[in-house]
């Protein structure tokens, strides 16, 4: 999973780049726009120039052309008039020449006045008005030029104030010939400059424009708008401008910068100049430029604002994004810290979100794809025992019975282990109350659950052990009192017995009293032996030998169909305790195992040393770390049903029929094992068998004990003992043992034969030692028969299956003692000694 900070820096780089990109883009766009606007302005400037120039150029040319036509017209008029005057005027009386002139010139309004001037310069005729009598124009240039023939054709004067009308104008003149090549005068046409002015005024060129009519030498003839005094003004600069193209200059007339277009009036010394003030010409452009500029600025501003806003938005997004990431990080860390997984199910579409932690908890790969409820069902394995509860919890919540969903269940992990999950959640409902979304979290509570289970287990064990303790204390108290009572009975009985006469009735009665008391003692011993208040010996015991001995005895009397397998590997390990008690433990477990295999099976006994590295909890008790020896007794019998399992160590609890078992074996085992600082583990499966494991703390090693010397046991004095057992090997064993104990054994492997022998010599035997389970005549039957023959003979009954039934029977018969097989030498020796002693 990428670390939050890593993705954060990646994202902030991305954002920086984005911002930069936006800014750059914005600047580029704005610059582009501004640039295009600037280009537009520049282009429109050019266009304005072009337009102005074209316009004034056209006007100049048009006017020049118009002036040329006028000039031509005037020239034609002059020529024509000259012709007429020189040729045709003879026929007209002098007084009518003016009128005729007038008529001739009527069609040429450009000529304001046409005059005829004689060779002396006197104005003779005119088209309008009357010539003043002495109007002499001989000094005028137009007269002199023609007279002196400095020009051919028409001559144009400079602007003058005509004497004819006292108005500003320009005079055109043509020579009049007298037919002989001599100067006869001139014919003039006066062009009134004001007329031209009027005409120009009519041409509306707009503000700031001016039309100039100039002579080649720069003399200004007409200007519109007019200047104050035109005569005498010369603008050679203006005249010098070439006739092609337009230029700009500072007008010498009014000092303004202006565009100027000049056109030569063809065939004349005239030039036409049209000017337009720069300001005026460029004003539209300026306006346009300003408009464009304004627009550009506005748009640029808007653009900048937009960019800024966008950048700010980006920044906000980034911070929002980082805030979101922070929030996500916080959430992820919170979930991480809480060690919880998280799920979110859309119940409408069945889509499922599982956080990686959740997947882990459920035993999936955190990167796996589980995004629907169906996939979840497939992949997540819930413990079958927990499934019903799980489904019920879900149903309860969805159907509204519980406000919150909460459930503990086991989930299988990839390694096969089951882990407990505590899952909590809530569903969101729509308006109708139907669940549409289900969210929640889960955490691993295996340790807590385990602790809880352990705790409950320990509490049960504690209760159990408290119960046992209580019973034990009770039993101990009873044993104490009982043994005192028995002690008194046996003690005084013995004394009385001593003082009674041999063979007397009293002696016989006392015998019976002793018997009874003896049985009572054995009974107390057996019943209350389990109570843990009894004190046993504490010495290092070679545990392996004890178990070996037990197995030897077992092997001797193994029922048919049972196979014994053993594996003893404790070597010289020593357990601090009582060998007798250890023997009882082993023996009890084995006889229990045999009882559960009525129809045959395998009895496995194993003994090994085990190191516990840490505290271990067993089904009965827990063990601290340390070295232990473990005795395992397993059978392939019926197993212990669950209902009974809890109570197997309860004192007096037995599943056997009345008379078959006292239910004291396991409590005794439990008591001894606990006393020695060990513990028991029980595993059972109905129909398959049971396994008991007894753990005892090892304390060093001890040498294998030499077989307990029989010397240590109570010996006999050569008493003759009849041994009856249908199993030959057992008879032989007993004979050997008794012989070593100082008795005189006589063995029979047939009860019938034994009875016969007894009948033959009733007094021969001092004691009868007989097995119970024999074909034909059982031990008890044999005892009864023998008793009838000799009431006082001591009889000891051996049985592999003890029980109240047998004891009762034995009591009725008058058997002295009932011994439990398998017998140890010690048991035998002591029993015999006891019985014989009490018989005295």
């Amino acid at each position: 999973m990428t670390s939050p900070s890593h993705s954060a820096s990646r994202s902030s780089t991305r954002f920086k780049r984005l911002r930069l990109g936006v800014a750059v883009f914005g600047v580029v766009v704005i610059l582009g726009f501004a640039g295009s606007s600037a280009y537009d302005v520049w282009r429109s400037y050019g266009q304005a120039l072009t337009a102005t120039n074209r316009e004034i150029g056209n006007v100049a040319h048009a006017l020049a052309e118009q002036t040329a036509w006028t000039w031509q017209g005037l020239d034609l008029l002059l020529r024509d008039t000259a012709d007429w005057y020189m040729n045709a005027s003879h026929e007209i009386p002098r007084e009518q020449i003016d009128a005729a002139l007038g008529i001739r010139t009527a069609g040429v309004p450009q000529a304001r006045l046409v005059t005829i001037v004689d060779a002396q310069g006197l104005q003779r005729h005119r088209s309008r008005g009357h010539s003043p009598p002495n109007l002499n124009v001989a000094d005028r240039s137009y007269f002199i030029a023609q007279r002196n023939r400095t020009v051919t054709g028409a001559f144009m004067s400079e602007p003058i104030v005509t004497r004819s009308e006292d108005r500003a104008g320009v005079v055109l003149s043509r020579r009049l010939d007298d037919g002989k090549g001599g100067f006869a005068g001139v014919v003039t046409a006066i062009v009134d400059l004001d007329d031209i002015q009027h005409f120009y005024r009519a041409v509306n060129l707009g503000k700031g424009s001016a039309i100039h009519l100039l002579r080649d030498n720069g003399a200004l003839l007409v200007r519109n708008p007019p200047v104050a005094d035109v005569s005498g003004l010369k603008f050679p600069a203006l005249a010098a401008i070439p006739a092609s193209g337009a230029t700009r200059l500072v007008s010498p007339i009014d000092g303004q910068r202006a565009f100027i277009a000049v056109a030569q009036v063809r065939d004349t010394p005239l030039r036409l100049a049209v000017t337009r003030e720069e300001n005026v010409a460029l004003q539209p452009w300026r306006d346009e430029a300003i408009r464009l500029g304004l627009r550009t600025i506005i748009v640029t501003l808007l653009g900048v604002l937009a960019i800024v806003a966008l950048l700010r938005q980006l920044r906000r997004i980034e911070s929002g994004d980082s805030a979101l990431r922070d929030s996500e990080e916080r959430y992820a860390l919170a979930m991480e810290g809480a060690n919880e997984g998280h799920w979110d199910t859309d119940m409408v579409t069945d889509r499922l979100f599982l956080s990686p932690k959740m997947k882990l908890l459920q035993g999936q790969d955190p990167d796996s794809e589980i995004d629907t409820r169906a996939a979840w069902m497939e992949h997540v394995v819930i413990h079958p025992d927990d499934r019903p509860r799980f489904e019920a919890a879900l149903a309860d919540h969805f159907e509204g019975r519980t406000p919150q969903y909460e459930c503990e269940y086991r989930v299988r992990q990839p390694d096969g282990e089951w882990r407990w999950l505590l899952s909590r959640g809530r569903c969101l409902r729509d308006a109708a109350g139907k669940p549409v979304r289900f969210v929640g979290s889960a955490m691993d509570v295996t340790t807590q659950k385990q602790s809880q289970i352990d705790k409950e287990h320990l509490e049960t064990q504690l209760r159990q052990s408290q119960k046992l303790e209580a019973i034990g204390t009770l039993a101990g108290g009873i044993a104490h009192d009982f043994n005192n009572i028995l002690g008194a009975i046996l003690g005084y009985g013995e004394l009385a017995h001593q003082h009674s006469a041999k063979g007397s009735d009293v002696r016989r009665y006392l015998d019976n009293v002793m018997h009874a008391a003896g049985r009572a003692k054995a009974l107390v011993e057996r019943i209350l032996g389990f109570s843990r208040s009894g004190l046993g010996e504490r010495a290092p015991v070679h545990v392996q030998s004890v178990v070996e001995e037990t197995l030897e005895l077992l092997e001797a009397s193994l029922p048919a169909g049972i196979r014994l397998e053993s594996s003893l590997e404790a070597s010289n390990a020593a357990v601090i305790g009582d060998a007798t008690q250890l023997h009882q433990v082993a023996m009890n477990l084995c006889t229990n195992a045999l009882h559960s295999m009525e129809h045959g099976g395998v009895l496995s006994v194993s003994l090994e040393c085990v190191e516990l590295r840490e505290r271990q909890s067993l089904s009965r008790g827990s063990l601290p770390a340390g070295s232990y020896v473990r005795l395992t007794v397993a059978d392939t019998g019926t197993g212990i049903p669950p209902a009974v399992f809890e109570r197997i160590f309860d004192p007096f609890f037995t599943t056997k029929r009345v008379g078959e078992g006292t239910g004291l074996g396991l409590p005794l085992v439990h008591g001894i094992v606990t006393d020695l600082g060990g513990a028991i583990d029980v595993v059972t499966k109905t129909g398959e068998g049971t396994r008991f494991e007894v753990w005892l703390p090892v304390s060093g090693e001890t040498a294998k004990p030499s077989v307990e010397p029989l010397r240590a046991l109570p010996h006999g004095n050569g008493e003759t003992v009849m041994i009856v057992d249908d199993e030959r090997p057992l008879v032989a064993l007993a004979e050997e043992t008794l012989a070593e104990l100082g008795y005189e054994p006589v063995g029979f492997d047939s009860s019938r034969a034994a009875l016969q022998a007894f009948r033959a010599e009733p007094q021969r035997f001092d004691l009868i030692l007989t097995d119970e389970a024999m074909p034909d005549i059982t031990g008890s039957k044999l005892a009864r028969e023998i008793r009838q023959l000799r009431p006082a003979v001591p009889i000891v009954l051996m049985s592999g299956h003890g029980g109240a039934q047998l004891a009762k029977q034995a009591a009725v018969i008058g058997v002295n003692e009932v011994l439990h097989k398998p017998l140890r030498a010690r048991d035998l020796a002591e029993a015999l000694a006891r019985v014989l002693r009490s018989a005295q």
Partner: protein, 116 residues
């Protein structure tokens, strides 16, 4: 010869023990014991596992220097007279009840020798 002191709460047992010992020739203190010199102290222990050692200490305190024989109905019958149990309790011999005359006399003989 200060004799044998017996701590036994059960009156019948107590009488029995006295009878046995006297018959064998030993001198036995009569009545409730209350400290002092003794050749031997026979003490009956109730709950020897839990309270035995304490009781034995009390007796030692009451009869300093005297050997002890502990008897109890809560000793298992196969208990050896001299062994770890006796050692743990701090007594010379242990006998389980019900005990026979022979058991008792044997133990007393082992500790203080013959009577007289």
């Amino acid at each position: 010869m200060s004799g044998i002191v017996i701590y036994e709460e059960d009156d019948l047992m107590c009488a029995l023990l006295e009878e046995w010992l006297r018959a064998a020739g030993y001198r036995v203190h009569a009545g409730k014991p209350n400290g002092g010199a003794a050749d031997l102290v026979i003490v009956s222990l109730y709950m020897p596992k839990h309270a035995g050692a304490k009781r034995v200490q009390e007796i030692h305190a009451a009869h300093p220097g005297a050997p002890l024989i502990a008897i109890s109905g809560q000793f298992s019958s196969g208990l050896p007279a001299v062994g770890s149990t006796a050692q743990t309790l701090g007594v010379q011999q242990v006998i389980a009840k019900p005990l026979t005359r022979a058991d008792l006399l044997e133990a007393v003989h082992a500790v203080v020798g013959p009577p007289g």
